[in-house]
Amino acid sequence: MGGQACVFYGAAEFSRDTDLAILADAANLARLRKALAELRAESIAVPPFELKYLRKGHAIHFRCQHPEALRMRVDVMSKMRGVDSFAKLWRRRTTIQLPDGSAYELLSLPDLVQAKKTQRDKDWPMIRRLIEANYFENQKRPNKAQIQFWLLELRTPELLIELAKQNGAMCRRLSARRPLLASAASGKKVELERMLTAEESAERKRDQLYWLPLKKELEKLRHPK
């Protein structure tokens, strides 16, 4: 769900770990334990590899010791802020098959964008690139779902203004959900840039608040009394 998914959809991230979104249930965890054992993956930080931590939204971190994946990091998560349940993610997933026949299951682009709305600086240019790439790929013949996705998620003022002018009715309808669309429709670029920055700041603040109790829990696990 991480760096390679970003590469696939059009951003560019040289991520040195592998991030997996998984279904957190006992049977699936047993399968994952077996796969991690084949990679000789060792848990390298808190929390321990237990269902209750995955269900709370923690990530479990591993490092592989198998010679063919030596020192490779694997991070496993099941619940992400603002992102739907695993069952919905799985229904919407993208499956790719490479020329060598290997197949990979990726988060859908809208789900990846949601997962990237974090407190970290590096995720926001990534979101912008992901949606720009999707826009340029499909701008000639977009469907309604794509136009709605772009209106709700684009972070490029020029493209938002172009799109809002072409899709006035949908833009007006969605402006209750995303107030900056009114500025896009009226072509006010400077105001739009300011509102995009404010939107990002608010989202990053929400992510920090979401993580507060989880970070406290991690601290307790790191330094038990």
């Binding site: 696939f8 040195r16 990091r73 790719i96 490479l98 790439a133 020029e158 172009e162």
Partner: protein
């Protein structure tokens, strides 16, 4: 209709114009080069990540030295 070249540098525009699978394969080539050159699989410390632990032990570089050393500096 705005085109990629009007918004981003040529390298990015070229990247956008690849198909998703082409981008994936290009990144695999980059990975192979990185590993041949001895690149590490340890992620960079991410101080903004909620998982970041300032006290966690960090892996040492393979050559046993810090990766950045001051070779020369002024007295100021």
């Amino acid at each position: 209709m705005i085109q990629p070249e009007q918004l981003v540098e040529d390298e990015w525009a070229e990247w956008y114009r690849l198909t998703p699978v082409q981008r994936w394969l290009e990144s695999e080539k980059l990975w192979q080069t990185y590993l041949v050159l001895g690149g590490s699989l340890d992620p960079e410390p991410d101080t903004q990540s909620p998982f970041f632990d300032a006290n966690a032990p960090r892996p040492r570089p393979a050559h046993g030295r810090a990766s950045l050393r001051v070779l020369r500096r002024s007295r100021v």
